[in-house]
Amino acid sequence: MIKILIVEDEKPIANLIDWNLTGCGYHCECVYDGREAADRIEENEYDLILLDIMLPGVDGFELMEQIRPTRTPVIFITARGAVEDRVKGLRAGADDYLVKPFEIVELTARVESVLRRAGKTQERYEIGDVVIEPRSMTVTKGGEPVTLTYKEYELLLLFLRNRGIALYRETIYQRVWGGEMDPDTRTLDLHVQRLRKKLGWQKQLVSIYKVGYRLEG
């Protein structure tokens, strides 16, 4: 299981991240100040660290110095969204940047993408008799390969990474189609219908009235 350390002095925010990443199947630990974070990093090995920059005690940049030799991927969480702050963070060795306030889907997408780049992503997803292996981009159902278009595959990955989360139509359009589609068109519904048919997911892909879709299981 993938272990994530959340370093954030604001308990409500740490808790929020914890809930949502745990819901996606990650194992999370929260610490609320820099010194404790330094101890944890020394004692344990993590697959990913989410790091707030403004911390009491030891701040995020100092912690970065300690983390860098371990080659653990880091996502900075900060209220400072100015370009120079982002550049400073990335220079310090962060793999990505999450600016407060953020949406849950953005959080899971960034976590997923950083883990994927670090080669720590989940090897395969299994739902019923459907197996998806992102590394080789193969999808099989009952051992038989399933042919998907590129957009169908992207949509499938989005559902997989946000299992149990209701995905809003606009969010899906933004993530899969880059926001260039009018959310009222039927494109999304047609894609979902084809996924249901090809994977036999009539029950798993739940449509939520006036909201969007959710993958269960």
């Binding site: 604001e10 409500p12 100040d33 209220a79 407060k100 306030p101 849950i104 149990g164 209701a166």
Partner: protein
Amino acid sequence: MRFASKMIALTAVLLALSLSAGGFWVVRSACRLELDNTVREAQEDMKLFGTTLQALCLMEDPSREPEEAVKRALQNGSAFGTYQSCVYDENGKLLAGAGEAYPEEQTEEDEGVIETTILQRGDAYVVVSSQKIRLMDRTFGITRSREITQVVRQAYDHLRRYELIMAGVLAAGMALTTLLTLWMTRPIRGIARGVRAFSEGKLEERIAVWSDDELGGLAREFNRMAGSLQEKVSELEDAARRQKDFTASFAHELKTPLTSVIGYADTLRSRELPRRQQIEAANYIFTEGKRLEDLSRALLDLFALERKAPQMRPADARQLAAEVEKSLSYLLNESGLRLVAEAEPARMICEPELIKVLLYNLVDNARKASAPGGVIELRGVRTVREDGTGGYRFTVTDHGSGIPPEALERLTEPFYMVDKSRAREKGGAGLGLTLCEKIAEVHGGSLTFESIPGEGTTVCAEIGGAAS
């Protein structure tokens, strides 16, 4: 052209003009005088020679040929003076004479008029006088000449010597002027250097002041200007830095609760959460929303205070303290604390609402720092301010946790919190003391802190405008 070069050139030109004009006049008149003397001498000699010749002719035999008589007389009179003489007939033809003849110099004037000229013959100079003279009932022309090369040379030598001396004086004068000018313009160059350094951004650069003259004064004035500019610039930089810090902290304080509100709301709408977690999420949204409300209220108070002048009116200090005590009594009771309020009665000119906010905040801070069972003291005394007017001093003392020394001077910075997590738990955006300081300032006063960690803190608010 640099100022120094201009001054050197100008002085040199003036020096040269006056020296050469004066010198030329002096030398020329000396030479002229010498030549004039020579001419006069020649004329007098001619006059004398004419008379002598006439006298000699009178002694000649009248029957003789006049030409012969004149020749003899000339021979007899040749020894006379240092001049060489020639005699010509009416047609200008040379009859007799010694040395070189100057027939072309014979005068056209009437008898008795002597004409004298100075002639140049190669390198030599000759003075020639001529006149017509009546001898033996005929008119003859005479010229007398003398070489005066020596005299003219001497005059030229004078002139040359003068030129040499003038060149020397000019050179020395120029050297002296150069030194003087360089010395005089040194402060200007110093000032220019200072100004250049200053304009290049070296604001700490000053001009060394050497003299008491106008340039020294200018340097001093410049230094004064540089000083006040530097002060202004650093004030501006401070203000800009404070503004930047404020914006950064404000963004942080705003975005942190917003992140929770948006995040939990997003979670609630997208996930099927158990009932317990739903309530927890809703509670986070509520408390963080409240935090935003506190922040916006504190900010509005602060902005209002900066924008409009307070509504000053008389109020009783003791009354104000009592009102604060009353409005805090519930909270104090709940925290298990006792407030001792002792304020001298005094009529204060103030905005009573603001003074109450000030006292409320200070006492509430003391409450947050104190452990249950503790005592908080709120005291008020009349004071006399430096300018002799009446003032009032409130002090709030607690015996709580105290403040570390390094945090003391940052207490009134916006969003500064000594212990962030503690401050959060007890509610607060880090603007309370910023507001208190502003309130003290608009009442012509200030806020000071004394604290010993572990023993307690005393906050002192000085306020102006009190009368007994």
